[in-house]
Every structure is written in C-alpha cells, then in structure tokens.
C-alpha cells in the first residue's frame, strides 16, 4: 500500500509546483501584458473618439468625449495627436450642463496638463540638463487654468454635500463621486475650491453611512508612493477590528450598501478627509467619525471583494471605483485581495479581439483602471526637481520655498518634498529632507518648523523620531512635546515678520521672548530688541540673564548695558547670574518706568526733528504730549541746544497749560522750581 501511493504523491506534488510556477510566471509578466492591453485599447479607442467628434453622442456628449479623451491621455497618447487636439477644440464649444460631463472635462484637462508636463520632463532628460523644465507642474494663468477654474466653480455652485445630474444639491452618490473627484483635481492644481464643500461632503456621507455587521478583523497592506530613482515605496501593514459598512445610491442610511456606491462613497470620503485635514474648520468629532467609516468601508470592500469582479452592466464602472479607492488610500491589499492584480487579470481576460471592452465608456473605464489613472501627481512623478547648474545660488528670496538638494541635482519645493515624506513615511526619504533642512538659511528657520511638525505623528516611527530630533536640535531644547514646538514655530514665524517690517512693540517681543525657552528664539528676539531699542521688553531681557545658553546670556548683558548705560546695577558684574539678574530686576522696579518714559520722550523728540511733513510731526507731538510731565525735562534739554522744532513749544504748552512763547530761557525761568523739573 505505502509503496503504491508514492507515484501518486509525486504526481500531486509535481502538479502543485507546476501550477505555482505558472501562477508566479503569470504575475511576473503582468506588467508587460497590461502594457500590451493598454496599447491595444488606446489604438481601438482613438478612432472611436474621432467618430464621437464627428457624431457626438446624444446623451452627455461632453462627458463621453471627455472620458475617452482622459483615458487616451492617461494611456500615453501624445498630447500633440490631432484627434486629441480636435477633441479639446470640440469640448471648448460645449457649455457645461451636467455633473458627470463637467467632472470628466476636468479629468481630461488634468490628464492633458500632466501629460504635457511629463512630456516636457522627458524631453529635458533627452536633451540633458536645462535651467528649468519648460512646463510647470500645474497649469499657470492661461486658458487651461481658467477653463479648469470655471468648471470647478460650476461644480461648487449651489449648496450641500451632494450632486444631482445638473449640479450641486440633493442627488445621488454616483454624481457626487464624480463631482468630488473633479474638485480634487481642482485642489491638486491649486485652484480655488471653498473648504465648506468638502465639509458638506463629509457630513453628507457620514450621515448616510450604513453599518452592516459586527466588527471583523481587517488587515490592510499599504504601499506608499514610489519616486523613481529615490524610493520604490514601502509597504506598511495595518490591522484593525472594525464593523463593515457602506453606502447606497440614494444616500439612504437604512438601505443596504452596494459595491459600486461603497467604492464611490469611500473614494469621496478619502478626498474630503485629505482636503479637510489640518484645516481649522475640521471638527474633531466629524474627523473621528470619518476615520471610523473609512476603515469600515475598507472592511466592507474586502469582505465583498468578489462582487467587484462579478459580471454585470456596472462591472467596469465598479472596477474604476475600486481603482480610485485603492490608489487614493494607497492600499495594496484589502484583506486577502491584491485589488489591482485581481482587477487587471479580469480586465485582460475580458479585452475583446478589437481591443476594446465594448462601449467607449467601458473601454475608457478599463483603461483608467489599468493605467491607475487616479494616482496623484506626487505618486506618479515624485516632487518636481528644477534642474540647475547646481551651485544652489539661484533661488534666494523669501517667497520661494525651493531648496537645493545635491542628491537630486537641483532645487525642489520644500513643502512638496516634506509633504511627500509625510504621506509616504518612507525612511529612504529622510536623507533628502536632512539635506534640505541643512540648506535652509537661518532667517527662514520658522519654515523648517512648519515643514517638520506635520512629520511628527502619533506613530513612533523613524520619521517622527527624525522630526523630533531635528526640532530639538534647531530649537536648542531637549524634550518638549509637539505643542511646545508648534508654539515656538509660530513665535519664530512672527519674529521673522517683525524683523522684515523693521518695527515692533516691546511688549510683543517680550511676549515672544517669554513664550519659549529656546535659545534660538531668544537670540533673534534679543537682536530685535537691540536693533529697535524696545525698552518695554527689558523685563523679559532681564529674565534671560539666568539663561544657560552662553550666547543668550552675553547678548542680554550687552543689550541692557547698551541701552541703559548701566553695567550691573548694585550687583557686581562678576557675581553669579541669579544675583546679577536680581539686581537688574530691582533696578527696573525702581527706575524702569522713568527710564522708559525718558527714552520714549527722547525718541519722540527725535521723530519730531526728523519728520518731513506736518502730519508726522503732529503725530509725534501728540505722542510726546501724552507722556505728560515726564517729558518736560527732556523737551527743555532738547531746547537747550539752541535749535529746535517749534512743535516742542506746542507740546510744552499742552502739558503745562502755560503760555510762555518760543524762547527756551523763558520756559526754564517759568518752570524753575516747579514739580515737573524735580
């Protein structure tokens, strides 16, 4: 018996090995087969688009043409293709009327611009380095941008978080998902999209969500975006126990979810969440509910995955919805399904002999799935690099956030670079941002804060550690929570504004000095106090006399000595820091207000002398009058020089109520012995 079973066992093992090998081979050559299918599909769709231009479909002519156009551009048909050009010309003649159509027009314009951008990059690569790519990543002011803005504005007209066939109000989830994806295109292209729209969308979806069962264990494998030549992306596994749920076509919270509408609701919720994250109007309660429903919908899709592959009239529409969910969420595997692998295999199997998948609409959806059309610009290309001669000296003004990264051989937008790391949390990116951080000039350090803080998340991963360590290093602080660094970042930003304006009040700078123990902030504030003579900030300066930072300590002493003429009142200069500080505090309590009044009077008298016009002289004279009798000795002292502004006479009369005339000796005689001169 035993000996007779051995051949059978060997045969079974062999079969398993062969099947496994065949499956592995099938996975390995999938990219080539997908490329071939896209090539055949676009070759079949292009003449059909030409036919659509000759005889536009009766229903949704704009939407049908724009959808085919977007699919062809995503399939790398050159932007210079004549049919593509003609299609845009035809679209230009059509007035926006339907939600689907307007959204598809936006897809097409976005696809056109991204294709143009990518073509220009490839051309630059072919011709070697140039000063900059000829085409910017987002359309600049011009016909494309203005068309996109007008379409976005059309979508945002009306009210509420849902759309019907002809605009924003009421409606269904199918129209809504197209509208929301159109608005995301607006965001990606830096167009004006009111924040309230996304809040309304989130509220609409949260209120119509339907939980279908008890919590289940859900595992999702995320694949973060790749950046060619820098990082292939990385996978991250998240496990959670969540109750599955989803949406129905009519936003009915009691209706059972459908596969297409759950994908539509989830992709829309993901877009709204991305738009709302970090904005002040994003209610924490709503945010928590959105997060919960995102997980629940992912769980629903993973448990109903087979329904997305089942044949039916909405197969390609549903697969396109699945692609949007997968690519916006960066999910690679939902539960036990590699959604792209499964969907692509099915689509390859269903491609017809003529290269299409039936109608133009289905062919377009199939191509959009295969090309992963929804992947964001960052996911597709990585942050754009402006190629330069490499000396890093080209961009220096404050308005630009470009930083030179030698590893990239050019300038890159700091916010995009750090944003990419925040999105991917890929440790391979850290050396790049480290270089960018080192390249920031000291006066723009506050910008580094605003770039690093978003990297500091609840996940205690390498990215958070990098953000925390770098912030501590820059600020000169050990420990401290995220909130304290947020405060410091804001203070540094404000400090930069005051430095640039060249004017500040002593009280505000004192507040900034007191807002953090950071020596970085203290050094900047002390420089500003010194530069502008901000006497009201001196109590805060005195408090820095006990600083453990040698530079801060030295500057505090310098500032106090320079502006008061005192080196260390009462205490000896060599006394311990607390003793010196205590002596200064006592001096300030005793003489501070008179000292400030005297310096302020001197400054206002100087202002009167320097002012070129009557208005400025009047303003300074009013300020001087407000100081009251403290100002009188300073005014008389200024008059003693024998050459002075006649406005000082006006001020003296206002303060003393006396009429003495313009001669200083008459004033001195008149006021001799009075309280004001004591």
């Amino acid at each position: 018996m035993r000996s007779s079973n051995k051949p059978l066992l060997a045969l079974l093992v062999g079969l398993c090995v062969l099947l496994g090998a065949a499956r592995a081979h099938s996975q390995q050559d999938l990219p080539q087969r997908v490329d071939a299918a896209i090539h055949r599909g676009r070759a079949a769709l292009l003449p059909r688009l030409a036919a659509q231009l000759n005889a536009p479909p009766k229903e949704y002519p704009m939407g049908n043409i724009a959808l085919s156009l977007a699919a062809l551009l995503k399939s790398h048909v050159p932007t210079s293709n004549q049919v593509i050009q003609q299609a845009f010309e035809r679209l230009e003649t059509m007035a926006p009327a339907e939600t689907y159509s307007v959204a598809c027009y936006l897809f097409a314009l976005d696809a056109f611009w991204q294709a143009t951008y990518k073509e220009s990059l490839q051309q630059a690569k072919r011709h070697g380095k140039s000063n900059s790519p000829p085409v910017p990543r987002v359309p600049p002011d011009g016909p494309v941008r203005s068309k996109m803005q007008s379409l976005v504005s059309w979508l945002t007209r009306g009210a509420g978080g849902s759309w019907h066939y002809r605009g924003r109000a009421g409606g269904d989830l199918s129209n809504t998902q197209f509208a929301v994806l159109g608005l995301e295109i607006g965001l990606q292209n830096n167009l004006e999209v009111p924040g309230e729209v996304f809040r309304a969308v989130a509220e609409q979806l949260v209120s119509s969500y339907h939980v279908t069962g008890e919590p289940i264990s859900l595992g999702i494998v995320y694949l973060t975006p790749a950046w060619e030549g820098i990082t292939p992306g990385r996978t991250r596994v998240a496990n959670a126990k969540v109750a599955p749920g989803g949406w129905s076509y009519s936003f009915d919270p009691k209706a059972d979810p459908s596969s297409t509408m759950t994908a539509a609701g989830l992709s829309s919720l993901l877009v709204a969440r991305r738009a709302l994250n970090g904005t002040t109007g994003y209610d924490p309660k709503l945010a928590r509910e959105v997060d919960r429903q995102v997980e629940g919908a992912l769980a629903w899709i993973s448990t109903h995955f087979a329904s997305y592959l089942a044949s039916g009239p909405w197969l390609y529409y549903g697969l396109y919805g699945l692609e949007k969910v997968g690519d916006i969420s960066s999910a690679k595997i939902l539960g036990k399904y590699d959604w792209y692998l499964e969907g692509a295999r099915l689509i390859l199997r269903l491609q017809q002999q003529n290269g299409t998948w039936g109608s133009e609409v289905n062919t377009s959806f199939a191509l959009l799935f295969l090309t992963r059309a929804t992947r964001s610009h960052v996911q597709t290309f990585g942050p754009p690099v402006l190629i330069t001669s490499g000396d890093g000296a080209r961009v220096k003004d404050d308005s630009s956030d470009l930083v030179f990264v030698s590893k990239l051989g050019g300038f890159v937008s700091a916010s995009t670079l750090f944003g990419f790391l925040a999105e991917t949390r890929d440790p391979l990116m850290i050396p790049l941002v480290e270089e960018a951080e080192k390249g920031f000039p000291p006066h723009r350090v506050h910008q580094v804060f605003s770039l690093l803080l978003p990297l500091w998340s609840d996940e205690n991963d390498a990215v958070t550690q990098h953000a925390r360590t770098t912030l501590e290093l820059i600020a000169g602080l050990r420990g401290g929570d995220r909130r304290s660094f947020e405060t410091l970042g804001r203070s540094l930003g404000r400090m930069r504004e005051l430095e640039r304006a060249g004017e500040a009040t002593g009280l505000e700078v004192a507040e900034l000095l007191d807002s953090s123990e950071s020596p970085l902030l203290a050094r900047r504030a002390l420089d500003l106090v010194d530069r502008l003579g901000l006497l009201e900030a001196f109590p805060a300066v005195i408090s820095k006399l006990t600083s453990s930072d040698a530079h801060v300590l030295r500057r505090s002493k310098e500032v106090l000595a320079r502006w008061t003429g005192e080196r260390a009142p009462v205490a000896h200069a060599d006394d311990p820091a607390p003793t010196v500080a205590a002596a200064w505090r006592a001096w300030w309590a005793r003489e501070g207000s008179a000292f400030v009044a005297s310096r302020r009077a001197a400054r206002l008298i100087e202002d009167i002398d320097r002012a070129n016009d009557g208005l400025a002289q009047d303003a300074a004279a009013r300020g001087l009058s407000k100081l009251g009798q403290d100002a009188v000795p300073h005014i008389l002292q200024a008059m003693e020089k024998g050459e002075y502004s006649i406005h000082l006479v006006r001020v003296l009369e206002t303060i003393t109520g006396k009429t003495v005339g313009i001669r200083s000796e008459d004033w001195r005689r008149q006021l001799a012995g009075s309280a004001v001169l004591k």
Binding site: M639, E643, I646, E653, I662
Partner: protein, 270 residues
Amino acid sequence: MLRAGSIHLWPALACLLLVKARLQAQETAERVVIVARGGKLSEAEVSPSPQLKVPALWKLALEGISLTRVELKDGVRLPSSPDELKQWLLPAGIAAEVVDWRRGSGGEAVASGGVQTLHKLFGVPPAPTAAEAAGVAAFLAAFGPTRVPELATQGQAVTTQDLGWLARSAVTIVRVDAVSDGAAAASERDELLDKVMEKAGPAANIMVVNLPERGAGTVIARGPRLKKARVSEKPRSIAAVKGIVSLLFDPIAAEKNPAIEQESVHEIFK
C-alpha cells in the same frame, strides 16, 4: 537795420539782453515782504505762542524759522527814515518800496520811502547811436517789449484794505511803529500781518523783524528756501539779519560773503 560788422553795437545788444533777462527774473522771482516792527510791541508779538492772540504770527512761525535773539545794543530803535531802514535790512542795490503803517481807522498805510529805479539797480546802457537804436528797436519788436513795472511815487497814500501797494514792487518793507502794547493794538497789527501773508501768497518770502523797546528782538520768517517750524536761539546782530535777507536775493553771492556765518545758513535755510 542791423549792420553786420557793426562791432560797437554788440555790447549794447548784450546789455539789453541782460536787462531783459533780469527784468524777467525779477518778475518771476519770489516776492519779499519785510514787516519791520518796533515800539511798544507786546510780549506775544515778539515771542508768539499758539495760545496767545497772535494767530498770524504763530502761523508764520509754524511755516518758517524763528530767530529768538536779535541783540539790540544801546537802545537800538526802529529807524524812522526809510533810507536808513533799507540800509539796515537790505543789501546795497536792491530796489524796494517802504510803506509806513500806522494804526487807525481803515488801517491806512502810506508809502513814504524813495524808490530806486530798475535802471539804477541794473545799470543803464550807454545811449545808442541812431543806427543802433534802430537795431535795438527791431530786436525788441522781435522779442517783445521789456516791461518795466510801474513803481509808486514817493508819498502816495495806500490802505491795508486792498493792499494794492504790495503789488507795486517785488521788495516791500512795511514799517510798523507800535504806539500801544494793548491787546487790541496787538491784534490789529497781527491782522495786518495776516492780510499781507494772504495777499503775498504762499510762495512769497515774508519776514517779520521785531525790535521791541525792551529785551532782545526776534525775526520770524517763512519762504520757499527757509526751514519750517524751527527755532534758532543763536544771538544775532541786525547786521546778521541783513546778511540773511541778502541770502534771499542771491544765495550764491551771499555764500561768498564772509560776514554771513555758514552755521546760520545751515540753521535757517533748507
């Protein structure tokens, strides 16, 4: 006809051109009005203040420069003779009309000073020959006549109500002899100043020279080249005041005058 080669005609023509240019310059130059006040001036008229009842003088001080210490040694008084007054205040060769203002109904001002003609000021060219005169006539016809302002004759009575006398000469000295330091009299003198300032216009140089019976005198002046809203307490003599007046007429020549202190120039002029 102008003969080519008539060499002796060229100096006459050049002289005419010079006269024409200077006359035109005189017509377009800023007017100079000096109000010389003496006698029983009130304190406020010498050292004004915004709260005292001399608003015109205060306005002048705000718009110009105030010199608070003009030293009047040995009881220096306001000269009664127009020639002496001109000698005190004006550089040599400057034509001016001197009017004597006295308090009274209607605020009558009487022109009592001599008038120097422009010919005297600029010099008279030698009389041309008949041929030269014909050439000059042709020249004038081409360039238009040089108008010589009609000057007031000595002793002509004028009033403050229409201030027509102000328009008769580019340089006018108004002599004000204060016989009372009462508020009403001071107010009337300030009103005269107000009218003079208004009539002369903002581009005019207006200088009030106060020579009180007691204490130091003052000068309060405004003008396009004078500093605004400044007070200078440096002691100055009447001669120094005359130096300042000469700067109004010819800043470049005055700069070369060693009698004028450069420090004063910087304190007073822009």
